[in-house]
């Protein structure tokens, strides 16, 4: 299973360019789409799930052309939109039954078994007879992922799935995705939460202003930030100056004042020690770096 994207462009009415010459290859496993708000993540995903037409460029999914083989592509896709609500009049199991039916599971017995398995998988079995409108935010998200998994799909596209979830729900969700990734499928996870990517994705792309600024393994991105992440000690009077001068990742109070983690090519006027970068540091460094025009 492979998704090939070639010079994809999307320009909205009014001239806003959401995607610009995007070229990307996605293989089996969890693929993370990272980028700030407005980077074009959702647009890309909506194009991939056939909800939107690109302005130009092409994409193939498992060899099927996005423009001409929507029927085949749709039969491969499971999609969880950003603001999933379900249908309030349907019970949890009914909604999954509907999703599974639409995904082509015709045999009622198999379908109902599948529904129960999905409900178990997402921890909603106890709530199977509850109306969707009665579920909590986390439960709704889980129901969303369950419906996206109904079929099951060959490609799972999830848009900002962990936004608004508490840490426990988020961990549960990440684990669920990890479990799914063991099957022969592509999972595209769009997020602006770096932790989601670092803990689950084997491959990723970084988008900014509709352009692809990085694609590869998260480790590669981290590697690129090595030697550019610092830890410095500062007193109260220095803190404001540091924040103005550098991209501060985090600030911790210490005995003498503050411990500040930041990204910078080199430190000027401050003494500090090099810090082992994480994906978050790499993401900030990369965006900083890129925004300075020093594209990789």
């Amino acid at each position: 299973m492979r998704i090939s994207i070639e010079k994809l462009n999307k320009t909205y009415k009014g001239g806003y360019k959401a995607l610009q010459d995007l070229t990307l290859e996605i293989d089996n496993g969890i693929f993370g789409l990272l980028g700030p708000n407005g980077a074009g993540k959702t647009t890309l995903m909506r194009i991939l799930v056939t909800l939107m037409k690109p302005t130009s460029g092409s994409a193939t999914i498992d060899g099927y052309d996005l423009a001409n083989n929507r029927k085949e592509i749709r039969s491969l896709i499971g999609y969880l939109p950003q603001e999933f609500q379900s249908f309030p009049k349907l019970k949890t199991w009914e909604f999954l039954d509907y999703a599974a039916s639409l995904a082509g599971v015709r045999n009622r017995k198999i379908r109902l078994n599948m529904v129960d398995e999905l409900l178990e998988q997402v921890g909603l079995f106890e709530s199977r007879d509850k109306r969707a409108s009665k579920l909590s935010g986390g439960m709704k998200r889980r129901l969303g992922i369950a419906q996206a998994l109904a079929g099951p799909p060959k490609i799972l596209v999830v848009d900002e799935p962990t936004t608004g979830l508490d840490p426990e729900e988020r961990i549960r969700f990440r684990n669920l995705l990890s479990e799914m990734s063991e099957k022969e499928m592509i999972i595209i996870l769009s997020t602006h939460i770096v932790g989601d990517i670092s803990s689950t994705c084997h491959d990723m792309a970084l988008l900014d202003s509709g352009k692809l600024v990085f694609s590869g393994a998260p480790e590669k991105l981290i590697e690129m930030a090595k030697g550019h992440t610092w830890k410095i000690k500062a007193v109260d009077s220095e803190l404001e100056g540091i924040k103005e001068k550098y991209s501060v990742i985090s600030t911790f109070p210490s005995e003498d004042g503050w411990e500040v983690h930041l990204v910078a090519d080199e430190l000027e006027g401050f003494s500090g020690e090099a810090l082992e970068p994480g994906l978050e540091h790499a993401y900030v460094y990369f965006l900083e770096h890129y925004s300075n025009g020093d594209k990789e």
Binding site: N68, R74, I77, Y79, S86, K89, Y98, A99, L102
Partner: protein
Amino acid sequence: MNMIYNIWIVAKFETKTLLRSWFFRIFSLLAIVILAFLGLGMYTNLAPVPWSFRGIPSSIPYTYILFLNLAQAVIAVFLSSDFLKRDKKLDTTEIVYTKSVSNLQYVAGKTAGILFTFLVLNVAVLIVAAVYNIFFAHSGLSPISYILYPLLISLPTILFILGFAFLLMVLVRNQAVTFILLLGYIAATLFYLSSKFYRLFDYLSFNVPLMYSGIIGFGNVRQLLVHRGIYLCLGISFILITSVMLKRLPQSKLSTRLSILFSGVFLIFALLLSFVHITTISKGEKTRKQIVNLNNSLEEIPAVRITECRLDVVHRGNKISSDAFLKIINRSSQPASEYIFNLNPGLKIENISRNSKEIDFKRNLHLIFITPGVPLGPSATDSLLIKYSGVIDENACYPDIDPEVIREDYRMAFMNIKKRYSFIKPDYLLLTPETHWYPGSDPGFSDNRPASRSVDFVLFDLDVKTRPDLVAISQGMPARKEEGQFTFDSETPMPGLSLVIGRYEKRSAVSDSISYNLYTIKGNDYFSEYFDSIKDTIPELIREEKENYENSLELSCPYSRISLVEVPIQFYSYNRFWTLGYETVQPEMVLLPEKGVNIRGGDFRGMAWRRKRRNKRRNETTADIENQVDMFKNFVSLTLTGDLSLSTLRRGPESQEISYSIFPFYYNFINHIESEEWPALNIALESYLSETLESPPSSFLRFVTGISDEEKANLELSESNLEEILKNPEKRDITRFVISLKGKFLFNLLANKIGEEKLKKYIKDITTRNRFRNISGSEFVAGLSKEFGIDIKPYIEDWYTSKDIPGFVLSDITTYKFIHNERTRFQVKFRITNRKPADGMVKITLKKRERQQQGRRFGPGRRRDSEAELTAVERNIFVKQNQTKETGIVLNYEPRTMTVNTMISSNLPSLYNKTFQEFELKKNVKPFDGERVVENPDTLPEAGTIIVDNEDAGFSVEGKKQRSLLKKMLPNLLGGDDDEKYSGLRFWEKSGNWKATINANYYGTIIRSAHFTSSGDGTLKASWQTEITENGHYDIYCHVSKVHSPWRRRKKKQKEGSYHYFIHHDDGVEEATVDLNAATEGWHFLGSYYFSKGDAKIELSNETEEKFVIADAVKWVKR
């Protein structure tokens, strides 16, 4: 398969969602509860709802689905626009949009879901209907109609409105705007468009004839399939377009192309069906027009007439084939080189032969032109055999009837019925002379002779072959040779022959050697249970009723058998210019509607219910026999021997009531006056002879219609003479009233000249002598002149050509009682002045009140059945132009009311009713019974008195003529016509401006009218202006007429309001209030004021506590 599966899945979950929607649940519950309550009122014993609401079993599902359809159309709009609104919450719907379901499958699934939801509702409502049908209505069950109505009414309606709503929603993309647009469309179609353009826009099928007869089914299956097919196709087309325009990327280009293609195909199919629908109806109009044009082209009435006709008819499937052996005679004084016969154009002639030798003929529409070879000499006879077969083209029936009248709905309660004039089906057949199912010599209606037809009295013999399980009914001595073979041998010549075949069962009673038969369709006996106690008495009752009827007519019936035959509800008949009879009444036969619905006396259950309630109210008990005898008499009097008049003041506005009066048995089917010179003479005599059958007009209907048809006819006669009206096709709507009125006038005039008894004796003698023969007009008139020594011809000439009509003023009505020969006698005296330059006549009817039972009459305010007004004296008074006559009538009993019918006159109203108060005892008075010419005309205003009536030039009103939007939209429903000069005082209507209305209580001489408007804030005024010629003090009066709606009588002690007059006098303007509680009818004193020479004015404002303000007349009286 995949497609169906996907549609099914989307539909299934849409249905689930909708069924759980509270909006839908509440709506459904409300619909079921309201319809269940409606059923309680309409189909149980709780209320006296007419039998016509439920008599035919399909009525109940029809009514229920019709009502539900109105509501579900609106709800479907909500639901459909809601679905698209839900779909706009993209994040939720997108999960469905990313599934492998095509746009068409998705939209179709949604549609199917909504349809299925409504199917559930339809089933629930039909279960309620079935409960009433089975357990309460006592009218039988028509299971098929429970399937047909949802399919024909609900399905196309919902599919169309869903498709339309989807389409609008994807175009407009705003639920509120879409909803407003759709509701507007629904309102426009329901209230305006649905009855226009051949009912093409009636997607709700509110005006589509959908009554399902238990005998022949719909009777218009093709029309229904075409009409409903239009909306079905449009709905599918719109749904397909919606799937193309849906804001979702299509699954494949092929599916999009196919959707566009099929959307176009269905749209074209809908347009084609619309075209078929319109052309089918317009074809009928075209055919009728062609027939009339062809008849117009015939220079004179065909000379060759039929004397004998033997018909061998075979009824097979949807066709008949027939051999007609005709004996013909040349009635003219010239040799006939061409025979012309009339045969329905749907019947194809195979050949025409004489003495087994085929002869040439030509066919043009309904007419057959035969060239006999050798011309037929005067009075010579010939015989022909015409073989023909085919169907009846009903477009050839009733060519005389205005297309608009033909197009009018035939309604029974909320149900619409297809008008049919004949039926040929495998298990049923009905053919009447109007269909021209056998050759006749009368070519039919022609604009040249609208008031007459040529009639042949023919000896018919009929042989019929049909299916063995069917029974044939016709005129003549019947015999059944074997199963499915019948013969009918004529006993008397008849003007027409009818044939009815069906699954009939027969009940008979013999009285005075006359056989009375009742033929009803098997299973349609709804009446026996109401007459179980008087089975043996029925022959005697029939004899009694017949005798009474014949005594009142002073005529007798020649038939040895009379049959009442049940026919499908769709069988319709119109009134004609040349006769008062309807096609429903044939020689020896009355064709009654299915299960007795839609006839006045057929609601036995209602009658029994009312009787029971009355007894309970009065704490009385009556024996079953007595009740049943009353019911039987009611049936006879209301249905068969009742009123034959056409007036809307007797039968209701826009009355579609078909007459079943057997009066034609006594005149139309026995005698006929044929006259080229005076074609209306026959209908004139018919109107005169049937005059005694007329019931008095309803005061209730006066309030509704404002002006009667007779009055409209009089207004017409004041502008054109009879000859001109007859020749003017534009006047057809009023022609029949003109002819009827003129007919009665002519013979009453003759009766006045030569004496009523003498005239009636003459008529009786000449009609008896000429039974079953045409009487020539000149023979009739010459005989009359000879018998009584008066030249009648000038009267008839004048009757035809005179344009002037009289105008009467009734004055000096005095009443008192006196003792004469130790007996109390009652004197009524009055003067009648004819103020116009044309002689005229008034008919005076004095009535006494007597305890007697009387049938129910239309509208509220009907008289109680304990007392009735019986005619005591009737007198015609002939008053020459500009002549005053004093009339005195002496009676042995106290009269209660006096009715003055001015017949043909410029009087409005043309009929006055005067109720007498207590008769004062007078001594030494000289009784006066008779009439005398007096020199002094009617009382004129005294010197120094100025009267300004609302008809005078000095009267004016403020405000322009306005028409409310509702009135514009619902002209038919609300009744009346604003374009008429005089309006009805309709209690339910608010009048925003002053309108003229007439009533005998208003001030006036020849025209008694007033203006009225609804109560208001006092800004709308009526004013009376005059010129004062002499300075001085004047007493001011206004004319008060207490004219209330008939409903007012029910509210006892209700306080009346006041009127506010403003008198403009020398010292300014003064308000004078008239307290209607204190005021009596007539002139009411407002005060004395000083007026100088010059203009003077009195105003009346529209401020009042009453519903209406009435501006009539005012007067200035010099002190």
